[in-house]
């Protein structure tokens, strides 16, 4: 069988909406695209814990603290599901970590922005998780089986994340003038970075075409961004908060909200490592990895000792 034949068969399977599984033949480009995307997604879940961890000890009530802890624990879990999905493509977990620590691998730029007030826990849940859900729901139908299955679990668990964020902002916007101001300030800072979460405009998105062709991705960046704006504007109205975009206006014909120009220069700067917290985030991950080395070593030594004892007992018997 020639490679051309295999490639044709592969595309035929995609056309029939069959899932591609780890041991199936796949083009190298498909494998590489998936490894890059799934790893980036996993890193985003793991790094995404850091801006919120900042507020665990300062949550305003036990209820809020329990919810925030549960959300962050979910994110750790989601990172683990995704690393496993990436590993089915033949890449080692440690290699993925090394790429995150060395800066070779990217994660969602949104986590390079600082969390300055408690209201940011609300804005992250509402906007950042809201945008993530819109990105992730179509991934449940991704052509690669292990990724799709991981996303089903993630999406099921994530719906509470957005609700808890919205509830935080709703409470603040119904509170004192200062609390409402805090909520508005948070929306002002998180709106545009959330819009950027969908990635570059379709015309400038280098990886989109291949991902759409191979059904890794089902909707374009701009399509998903539009859905986000349409879903979020009425929610902001319920909160009584103003989206910081003077050009936001409803188009009666298209039935969509039109929005202003995104600052792509800021986006590129943050992607390239010049955001407020890039260095801090990667350092926190590296420290956690290095300081945890003795724990990993101890567990390995303990497992080896138990294994050895078991074989010795067998020999005696």
């Amino acid at each position: 069988m020639t490679t051309i034949n295999l490639e044709e068969q592969f595309m035929n399977r995609l056309a029939l909406d069959e899932k591609i599984e780890p041991k199936d033949w796949m083009p190298e480009k498909y494998r590489k695209t998936l490894v890059r995307q799934i790893a980036q997604h996993a890193h985003s879940e793991i790094v995404g814990m850091l801006p919120e961890a900042n507020y665990i000890s300062r949550a305003p009530s036990l209820r809020r603290k329990a919810a925030l802890l549960a959300k962050i624990q979910d994110e750790a879990g989601h990172g683990l599901y995704l690393y496993c999905a990436a590993e089915t493509l033949g890449v080692e977990r440690d290699t993925l970590f090394e790429e995150l620590h060395s800066g070779k691998a990217k994660y969602s730029s949104i986590f390079n922005y600082p969390t300055l007030s408690w209201a940011d826990m609300g804005a992250i849940g509402w906007l950042v998780d809201g945008a993530a859900i819109l990105n992730q729901v179509p991934l449940c139908k991704c052509s690669y089986g292990p990724y799709a299955r991981a996303m089903v679990r993630v999406c099921k668990e994530e719906s509470f994340h957005q609700r808890q964020g919205f509830e935080i902002l709703l409470t603040l916007s119904n509170g004192s003038e200062a609390q409402k101001q805090m909520a508005q300030d948070s929306l002002n800072r998180w709106w545009w970075p959330s819009m950027m979460m969908f990635g570059p405009s379709d015309a400038d998105s280098t990886n989109s075409e291949y991902s759409m062709k191979t059904k890794i991705k089902r909707f374009s960046n701009d399509e998903l961004r539009q859905r986000f704006v349409d879903a979020t504007k009425p929610q902001a109205d319920i909160l009584g908060l103003t989206i910081p975009d003077p050009n936001l206006k409803y188009n009666e014909e298209t039935k969509h909200w039109e929005y202003g120009e995104i600052d792509w220069e800021e986006f590129n700067n943050v992607v390239q490592g010049h955001g407020a917290c890039n260095k801090l985030r990667v350092k926190a991950r590296k420290d956690a990895w290095e300081e945890g080395q003795w724990v990993r070593d101890a567990a390995t030594a303990y497992a080896e000792k138990k294994e050895l004892r078991k074989s010795q007992t067998k020999q005696v018997a």
Binding site: G77, R153, E157, R296, A299, Y302
Partner: protein, 96 residues
């Protein structure tokens, strides 16, 4: 020691409350079986998904070869008589 390779990979199977078979839910790394069970509890049952966990080291699993799928699974394709709907029964027979 500190250069030791990463912990082995384990496949996790969970049985829900409803008495169905253990079902594969995913995989994780752990240094030994006990840790694999504990990690599986934290990673895969945060919302009461199960009442029993199995873990199996991934390398112990033998899988069928997808390249041989035709030979493996095609023979069942033309045996419709193995399904109840194959049989023609009179309309007045309401339950069977």
């Amino acid at each position: 020691m500190s250069n030791s390779k990463s912990w082995p990979l384990w496949e996790v199977f969970i049985r829900s409350k409803h008495g169905l078979s253990h079902k594969h839910v995913g995989s994780l790394h752990a240094s030994d079986a006990d840790m694999a069970i504990e990690n599986a509890r934290d990673v895969y049952t945060r919302r009461q998904e199960g009442i029993s966990i199995w873990v199996v080291e991934s390398k112990s699993i033998t899988a069928s070869d997808p390249k041989l799928n035709d030979a493996m699974f095609e023979p069942a394709e033309d045996k419709v008589y193995r399904h109840p709907t194959f049989y023609e029964l009179p309309d007045e027979l309401k339950h069977m």
